[in-house]
Symmetry: C2
Subunit: 328 residues, 2 copies
DNA sequence: GACACGGCTGCAACCGCTTGTCATCCTACA
DNA sequence: TGTAGGATGACAAGCGGTTGCAGCCGTGTC
């Protein structure tokens, strides 16, 4: 029912191979033949069958994108960037949401790897020992996680975190709390280490609580821990936790920015929205997505550069009103 | 390099067709042969090439999902539901985000339609006259939009909206404002009509403002319009607009639930988060996603039922603290 | 004992496109 | 005028599965 290459060829009284070349490798076909073919193809409404094409050339033109949770506002900007960059490069994106199930990642990757040219894993929750298996499966780019021997786009939160701790220290906070993210989360380890280092540098006492899921409810749960501690400021693993915390504290009459200082990480759109607005560390998600696609395309086309590229992106503190001088 | 059907066949000293049948149509193969084949296949790490399979059987096992904006919190739950349902049914999901560009939808659909078995369009922004073209392209299910002659899952906001207006009227509000969504949005038309009907029924004055983009910033912009009007309550096209509005009004010292009543639509996770928490109309997005996949699978398998099915889902009001008695 | 029938399996065509190889024809140069 | 060489386009062999058809063999029936 769909018009095929052979149909066009027949209509032109010419062989299929020539039609194929006329459309994909124009140089190799005489100019007027080419034009005639193209016109007929257009008139007949021909459009190549991408499955057949994939089978023949051995590439599908699709990228697999594995994400822990689309509903987490940290991810959509990355996903959008990946999509749009892939679109520019004529690739489609096969998206998979693992619902934060670390153990699903490898399974889904295995399935996916047969339908796509390469895999982009955003913030994978899989334990480090198993990450190698992904690399064996297909060309892989990791985002928001550094993996030895693999291409990755990492977001170095240490700059932003250092700014955050400095900001708090400058306002007199001497006792702060870090609300940790999922235990298996690589970025949680990074963030916690950065907080810890910065606290040491600025002479601030640090207490660590957690793990918390990157969800609003977890932040609500964290509120009681914070209220009963002697911390005057909190840095949360992400904005969701920070927002949940802030909302719950508000219910208790504890006001962020006045009674306690709260800093989130991700700078999601909601942080500008909350009341009070949330001081947060901006994480360049969109850039990361774009870079990941570019990296992948580089891996796919030709020889991967030997030391596999690791792109580092920086973060910075965005001060809003959930932070303020320590209450004396 | 990957192990193929032929490799397995050779290893078993058997023909490829038998191997194929042993794996996909077990009944037709002798039990012990089948077991031997399966074992060898497993040992060799065989896994079928899905592209070749697609070419052969003429189906790709993929569904195309077109969404206006992943970053809008209304969509992720739907997308997740579609994914997970499709996953259960061994289908993959090819996601496309059109960034709210109505005119992109048809283009993307055209490209996509060649790689997938069917198209699911969530809240399409395309004008009604052109919707027929999608149907011509491939099996289509529309979500959150009723399209004549096509399968659709619609969310009937009228119940929820009626409850909302009744709720406001009961608290003495006699003058309310509806902040409209995008002009081309079908659901905006539905919602506005429902608000209008309900206001009439409950004897409430209605003012309509807009259009506003479903984004926080639009709500912020709306705040001035609301402040200078004589409305005592607002129903916004969606939660984002409501939240933006509420945050901005808070900055002005106008407190939702006390000085003005605000109701959002979508009941997104943030509505429980904001301060004050946002009264909102719950929209069953996840159910809609699941139903859409089921509908699609029904369309694809066998004869579509003649009157193309339209699934209707209901909405309901979730009262939180952004609404209260009119201030006297 | 011959025949029919049914269960298994192999052969080969096909899905639609790409691409290496080769024949043909024309041009240009010696 | 003969021939080398470059365009140009046809042929055919895949890519890796699926599936209709036919053949083989064993069993049951008359």
């Amino acid at each position: 029912m769909a018009v095929t290459l052979a149909d066009v060829a027949q209509a032109c009284g010419i062989s299929a191979s020539t039609v194929s070349r006329a459309l994909s490798d124009p140089e190799k076909v005489n100019a007027q033949t080419r034009e005639r073919i193209r016109r007929t193809a257009r008139e007949m409404g021909y459009s190549p069958n991408s499955v057949a094409r994939s089978l023949s050339i051995g590439r599908t033109g699709m990228l697999g994108l594995i994400v822990p949770d689309i509903a987490n506002p940290f991810f959509p900007p990355i996903i959008k960037a990946v999509q749009s960059r892939a679109g520019q490069k004529e690739s489609a994106v096969l998206l998979v949401d693992t619902d934060e199930h670390a153990s699903d990642e490898l399974d889904r990757a295995r399935t996916l790897s047969k339908q796509v040219d390469g895999l982009i894993l955003i913030s994978p929750r899989t334990p480090a020992e198993q990450l190698g298996e992904f690399v064996a499966l297909a060309p892989v780019v990791f985002v928001n996680r550094r993996v030895d021997g693999a291409a990755s786009v990492v977001i170095d939160s240490s700059d932003g975190i250092e700014q955050a701790v400095q900001h708090l220290a400058a306002m007199g906070h001497r006792n702060i709390c870090y609300l940790g993210g999922p235990r298996l989360s690589w970025s949680n380890k990074q963030r916690q280490a950065a907080v810890s280092a910065a606290c040491e540098r600025f002479g601030v006492q640090l207490q660590v609580r957690g793990p918390f899921e990157p969800q609003i409810q977890a932040g609500v749960r964290a509120a009681d821990l914070v209220r009963t501690s002697d911390c005057t400021a909190v840095i949360a693993y992400d904005d969701l936790i920070a927002l949940g915390l802030m909302a719950r504290l508000t219910e208790y009459g504890v006001q962020a920015g006045r009674d306690v200082s709260i800093i989130g990480i991700d700078d999601s759109p909601m942080s500008g929205m909350a009341y009070p607005t949330l001081t947060s560390i901006h994480v360049p998600g969109a850039e990361a997505g774009t870079m990941a696609v570019d990296l992948m395309l580089r891996l796919l086309s030709g020889t991967p550069p030997e030391p596999l590229p690791v792109v580092e992106l920086e973060t910075r503190l965005v001060i809003r009103s959930s932070t303020g001088p320590v209450r004396t």
